[in-house]
Symmetry: D2
């Protein structure tokens, strides 16, 4: 089979590999029908995380082609989406639907331990936990977003602890940030203030109902947020970028007693946290990898009933063989290119 490999920072190739075998008695193999490039893939591509060479990708929709004897809920031929984060599926941590709390430790596809989703075939352990039959009324785009980005944006908004009518600032309006904007509104936010330097992204967030702030530095974000909130600061800030600069802006823009919800992948250096100020202002900092499987419980009916918009995020389609060009397009992070999909 073919799989996309990041060989070194900035260099991607499509390689032939042996077809994967069943990973375990409770596992399955999925023939990938669509996969996508996530912002965190770009961190590997950019070299922020030293994990190469690596078969990449953790967002996949496809069809089950093989199941282990202990799989109860799926059969060959089922059309499924695959949660980006994997757990053992049997412990009390997984029972909460959050593989991050798996007793055996979570694993992410396309990061070395498990195969990459940007492939023809993907071996999936603990299939009963890891897979979701593509629900009726859920589009292909929505299904692909449910594997990660939509669950991430949703969980980030939930964990921002926003009371109904509250004001949240979203920093970064890529796929996750835009999902967070939409999620916050569905969850009862009064106002969503949105920040991103890229015009195409701003336009999409505005169309979703956000108020765009024209600000780039931490100081400018703070000033704009404080002006928009009558001098108080945002009840919550969702940082969907997670660089030192956006974290600084989040601390500057959040009100006393408020919450910062961090969704992005920082590089490996520590962030200089202003802990004394944080204590004096009673700030909460929630860092989150999406509890994908738990989020499905909330999200599937919302998507099915059309309450949560999932359109307008995928802007580019590539064949798997054109992976190098696809990564180049995605890494440009232009407003035209929100998110890239592969159709193997």
């Amino acid at each position: 089979m073919r799989t996309v490999v990041v060989e070194e920072p900035g260099r991607v190739s499509v390689q032939e590999r042996l077809d994967p075998e069943l990973p375990s008695a409770d596992g399955a193999v999925v023939a990938v029908e669509a996969s996508a490039i996530c912002g965190s893939d770009l961190h590997l591509y950019d070299g922020d995380l030293p994990l190469f060479p690596v078969a990449i990708g953790h967002e996949a929709v496809g069809r089950v082609v093989e199941v282990g004897p202990d799989v109860a809920r799926f059969a060959v031929g089922d059309r499924v989406l695959v949660a980006a984060v994997a757990g053992c599926g049997r412990c009390d941590g997984c029972a909460t639907g959050d593989p991050v709390t798996c007793r055996a430790g979570p694993r992410v596809f396309g990061a070395g331990e498990l195969g990459g989703a940007q492939s023809d075939l993907l071996a999936v352990p603990a299939a009963d936990f890891q897979l979701l039959e593509v629900p009726e009324g859920v589009s292909d785009e929505a299904a692909l977003l449910l594997t990660d980005n939509l669950a991430t944006g949703w969980a980030g908004a939930r964990r921002a602890e926003l009371a109904p009518g509250g004001t949240v600032a979203v920093l970064g309006l890529g796929a996750v940030g835009l999902c967070a904007v939409r999620a916050a509104l569905v969850q009862g936010a009064g106002r969503v203030l949105a920040v991103d330097p890229v015009e195409g992204r701003r336009r999409r967030a505005a169309a979703a109902g956000a108020t765009i702030l024209d600000a780039s530095t931490a100081d400018a974000v703070r000033d704009a947020v404080f002006e928009a909130t009558d001098g108080r600061g945002a009840d919550a800030v969702i940082d969907a970028v997670a660089t030192d600069a956006t974290l600084d802006a989040a601390f500057a823009a959040v009100r006393a007693g408020g919450t910062i919800s961090v969704l992005g992948v920082h590089d490996m250096a520590p962030y200089p946290l202003p802990v004394l100020t944080g204590v004096y202002r009673s700030i909460t900092l929630r860092m989150t990898t999406a509890p994908v499987q738990a989020a499905w419980r909330d999200l599937v009916p919302l998507v099915q009933d059309g309450r949560l918009d999932t359109t307008g995020i995928f802007t580019h389609d590539f064949a798997l063989d054109d992976a190098a060009a696809a990564y180049e397009a995605a890494a440009a992070r232009s407003g035209d290119c929100m998110k890239v999909r592969f159709h193997p």
Copy 2:
């Protein structure tokens, strides 16, 4: 009147000052009957925070000797305790009982803006918000703890988001840490693991129901916590010290998906936060200055009904004139000296 002043790091004196006037029409003046040294006072005394010279102290119990015309709930002669953190008392932030969220900004006694509680007299703004009549059945010791330390330990335990039966590790067993141990147990903690190098403090925490871990480095704390939790880590960690070392230990000891509740006063340098790990493990970091007035709603009945123990914390009494000796004793942070009280 007399007031205790930190003149420079390590040097304390008792000075004569003019008696304070009513600070505002909604204010009061309280004749202090007892005050206490808080751990954060020692940060000023130690020079971690450059605020000298400063009239110090923010924990006071006393009697109202003067009230402004707009004070509705208090009269001359009332025996009261004074919340350490002050708000305007009229905004929606103060309405939640958390002066940290005051629209006009919170102020702390004994830090420059307001007088110090280690004095004969204390001017109190927004008295209806700031004062609590010492409730029936509340001892003098308990009343003094309700001004700050007990509210801090209580709020820190609440914000640790512990489910009933969960395991919490408390780092630092001074007055706040011991209050947090007791609070966590009242709030339904299954197990409290407690860490402190000082034997007298460990003994008190053990008597309160904690399991003492013999560990000092971050690695040793992690190992001991993981051994005690079947390899999982603590559901929550309350850091009642807040140095880089205890924060490192907190991150090392908390389970994936868990919460770190920070109560202590860090110095002015930033803490190098492992944000990438925090995101991968979905860690929450809550930093907290006590919402004193809100905490009273929970705490007063618990103290009155004897459900929350407030004994065994004050170990030393000093006359106000002996403030220098008092600070010397407190700064030694020995197990014999948990907390110092002044009787002017």
Copy 3:
């Protein structure tokens, strides 16, 4: 001044009364600019509650014409709305924003103890607690709805304990029911199933995003809800009518473990509660009088930012002198007449 009086069931007149005096040092007098007829007024008009003769009405917007010396937040000339439920404004119960929990007991305007809002003038006790300056960006219609109906529908939806994406059935689509439909959607409901026999009301609920069920008996409601929920029942049912018939339907339609939120005014007879079934199915029954003042915190920003629609509810305007005709129109409960407003 003039005031509307229900003299006996079905008979309303406009009477001359002495102008009200300041009710207390912390009170105010408001010149009513607009008032409205609430569904609970119709219960008095219909004779369900034996309270006549009574000066009626508890929804008012107007201008302050007199204030007591202890009123801090309002001055003559302020444009205000008046919370339908009154508390002392000073106790810990009122501090939560819910006058139902007032230590002195709540009082409702237009029910005997306090004056009626369908008047030229209204005496308001505890004005700082009872009044809200009409916020910028809040229409006259919205202001009138904030005195009661919108707060009731909002609180009823909140207390329905719906998880995001959940399904709620709303029984009764008058003003409160329609507010509940809109509130549930803002709060993240996945699907709102709506029941009412009156076509005009169904049309409005459908326009707000609800799915209309064609059902009238309890059995038919249950069948329709179970069919719409894959045989499970609704996660929550909001009963905005509260007759025995709608309560029966609510019990029949709610899923095991679900919540029934009751907002309507039942007559004085008890409801035969199927308590054994309730225990076996772990049903929660929340009965609610709106915590109006608390609800404002959520609602004002949502209304200001246009997130919560308040249009399309007032359908009829009457002069105060035409109160008899106004009540006749309202009591017909036709789809054409959702809610009546007086412009004195």
Copy 4:
């Protein structure tokens, strides 16, 4: 094998039956080592619920003697306790740990559909969901209580929505009521007021930390609760009896805005609910069958760590063959006989 059968109201016999077979591929058979009589068994024995003849009992501890091929977590020889309420173990309802919300509908042992636990052998469907290995450090008494009564008292206290420091009244101090008293204190109740006419039960509740009220009628309970709460009423009332009389007392004793948590088994007649008063006072009525499996997550560590006392509840041991005498003793509901255990 032997099984205890209620043949008609007041008449119990021990009958020989064929040994049960495996109920399903995911089921098990358990050799009962200890079982117990629950208060709800007495409702069948008393004839309140017309379910005879019926093999009775739903509280069992024993050893696995046979397992189906789809059982993953248990093997022959494991010492287990059996949750009183059974679910399919595979649906999203069961995933919450609450079999009441099972999509296939919950079933209770000893009520006709499934075998009775007061037997030599018990067939258990969905064993992975239904069984819990008796945890280390959990006594035989505690294990038996974890099958139902302790989970019921715990859930009843949780669903009473008590804020820390709040006051809860517990009506009825049998096994469930006493568990509720202890649970409420572990969960942070400030004060537990306890009502029961039987002296031996009152003594045990007092020893657990409750304040005993000397009251029997609804009026007397209200008066005593209001006197104990400064005229306010209890924040919550747990009704562990659930007759019309105790429900009346609960409504009379709860404060405005408070919660009544109903745990007992009412007879089949409806309860005349004062719904108008309930709405005016914003009362919540939660009726609950224990979510046993979910409660284990909280309870096991609390029992293991000795935080939740489980002693002093079992007062009488009988051989299975003496079931008639055992039921006679239990039905007397004297203070001497709190709860009966069988040792087959």
